[in-house]
Subunit: 397 residues, 2 copies
């Protein structure tokens, strides 16, 4: 049996670049940007008024003039108005382009206007005050957004400002989610006393939805021949197959056998971890992968966040980001397996994330997943865990 | 001018419950759960095998028997098989319901099977080993998920397991986003040297999309009559109007006037903050609100996250959660306004969130929003900020 670190290394080593595609800007939220975005002109593109007031030449003010004749009003978007006389001014609105004959903007709050004449109040005024100078933020051709980032609302705004109606993004793998197990009934059916409803498929679909993957989902009975035929066909249409159930030691755990028959190369089977020990991972081709999770809902959830999501992020070109939390309470776990414990996170006023451990009766109990936010990853060689110790966390909400 | 705290208090005081609606489970991700979810039966619903192996009565083992005749094989979902002889067993699969004549499951790893007889290896075996007892996690009728939570993949899985094909969720307000300004052109147009492209509307739509609000968006020229007519009509169809631009001191800043004419009650205008000082907030009726942001993209973004999102969360019944970070570098801000500085967050191995300050040339520069993740809220009465000091943060990615 391999360790979590070994399993992680094998999986991340198999990350795959599925290429790129163009999508409309309005549909790009949450996708991964695959092109650098450049400024199409200087930012700001002109000397821009940052307040409403009057534009003057500060030299006249420094020469002692306090009264400026108003020669016009310039709104944002208008062609810049100029004056020839240093003792004249124009009224100018926030966002308007300032003509080069002016070098200072005085706010309405700092002046009074009567009979088309603006009188500047007592105060200290400096050249270029209230002017956002052309190119101060970025020059034309400078990079605004680097590729390999999740497209968020800020990036959408920046893209709009430079006229990108479409964005080049990473293509997502086509994913099929397959649950197996004769004991599972549909959610709209009433299970007999020994059956349970299918939930893993929907949990996985919802998690993938957060990463903008619209996966398909099917359920298969424990019928070896049918599983084989269905998976065989699925490899033609999908890049990644996420299986749940059928990977343990049971008589009807056909998955490892079937995958071997289908020439899916086993990269590993079983990891020293709780939950999720029987996890199986393999590849069919350089771009075709199978993540076969155990059927237990908490195992599925953990393996999905600990293995599939990091694989997806790396395949999409995203940097690895590690998160940690300190334990909010003491507890014990007397078994030599790496434990993924369900914790509830909160942040203290020093910006530190605290993880409160919820005792969850082992891997079967998914009823606590709604009260908790993350798995905390606790090492196998440690049995007693103390308040204040820091460990890595994997958020799931 | 009021402070941020005063503005926040006024806005949160106006949170409004827009009621509830049923949505299909598969469309509920990210919505706010408006009903408690209860267990429809004990969890687990039966004594459940947690491993693959044989089910025995431990008394026979304690009496010295090591060889158990296999009387059948029971898969998950099957009716429980019983035996009459204590020295008999059945093979049982993970997830299967264990008949009450058995009280222990021995893993395949701990036995050998030959000629329909299972021989148990050396080891220590206890009653109820490898059995997840009926009702251990939750009893029928116990609460599984409390309402007023964001529906995440775990809640979707739990809902599926109890047969909820639909969920009661909070209704979202109907939101209209209105940008104003003659200097703004569409993103597929080429601006003249003094114009810029519309970006605020799309940034707002994308932010709302994260909260599952599908808002509509329009752009209006600085035409007072047309703004008045359009807004008047909009109050019939929408609960919340988010405006950008036209709220400052300029000649064409018609918004406060128009809103007054439309009998929208001004709750405040202007907040002691940078960016976003000219922010205007008002109400038309107990369920109709106007958030009128300044036109500057960073101001819009800040006001949206600092005021609208908390209002929305409170209106949806969500608890307030505060986040903090410590500064990663020293810097100065010599103006007596509360500053929302753009920072890049990362987490250290002690689970502490560190905020690196990016110098962003004042409010106009939205080009840094893609490199940063949050605003850090710095008090007005402090000008020098030191590495290691903790302040509240507002994430935007």
């Amino acid at each position: 049996m391999i360790t979590i670190e070994e399993a992680e290394k094998i999986i991340l080593n198999e990350s795959f670049d599925y290429g790129t595609e163009m999508v409309p800007l309005v549909k790009s939220l949450g996708r991964i940007l695959a092109e650098d975005l450049f400024s199409d002109r200087d930012l700001p593109p002109f000397n821009r008024a940052t307040v409403d007031g009057i534009a003057i030449n500060i030299e006249a003010y420094h020469s002692g003039n306090r009264n400026f004749l108003i020669k016009g009003i310039q709104a944002a978007g208008d062609n810049p108005i100029s004056v020839t006389d240093k003792n004249s001014c124009i009224e100018i609105m926030t966002g308007a382009a300032i003509h080069e004959c002016f070098n200072t903007v005085i706010r309405y709050e700092d002046l009074s206007i009567e009979n088309s004449c603006a009188t500047i109040n007592q105060g200290t005024f400096k050249p270029y005050q209230n002017i956002h100078l052309r190119g101060k933020d970025k020059l034309q051709g400078e990079i605004l957004v680097e590729k390999n980032k999740v497209i968020n609302p800020a990036i959408i705004g920046i893209s709009a400002s430079i006229g990108k109606t479409n964005l080049l993004v990473r293509k997502l793998p086509r994913v099929l989610v397959v649950s197996t197990g004769d004991e599972l009934v549909r959610i709209d059916e009433t299970p007999n006393p020994y059956q349970i409803r299918q939930s893993n498929g929907l949990t996985i679909l919802a998690t993938l939805q957060k990463y903008k993957i619209r996966a398909h989902k099917i359920h298969l009975k424990d019928d070896k021949k049918n599983i084989e035929l269905t998976l065989k066909k699925s490899f033609e249409e999908y890049d990644v197959i996420l299986l749940t159930g059928g990977v343990s030691m049971g008589k009807y755990d056909f998955i490892p056998d079937v995958l071997q028959k289908l020439k899916v190369k086993k990269m590993f089977h079983k990891v020293k971890q709780r939950p999720g020990k029987p996890f199986w991972f393999g590849k069919k081709a350089k771009n075709k992968f199978v993540f076969a999770f155990p059927g237990n809902p908490v195992s599925v959830f953990m393996c999905l966040h600990r293995y599939f999501v990091p694989w997806l992020r790396k395949s999409m070109g995203l940097k690895e980001t590690k998160e940690y939390a300190i334990l909010g309470n003491d507890f014990e776990f007397p078994i030599e397996l790496q434990l993924f414990a369900q914790v509830e996170l909160h942040m203290n006023e020093d910006g530190q994330t605290i993880a409160s451990y919820h005792n969850t009766n082992g891997s079967g109990d998914f009823s606590h997943l709604a009260e908790t936010n993350a798995f905390i990853e606790l090492p196998a060689n440690q049995n007693t865990f103390k308040k204040g110790e820091a460990f890595r966390i994997w958020r799931y909400n």
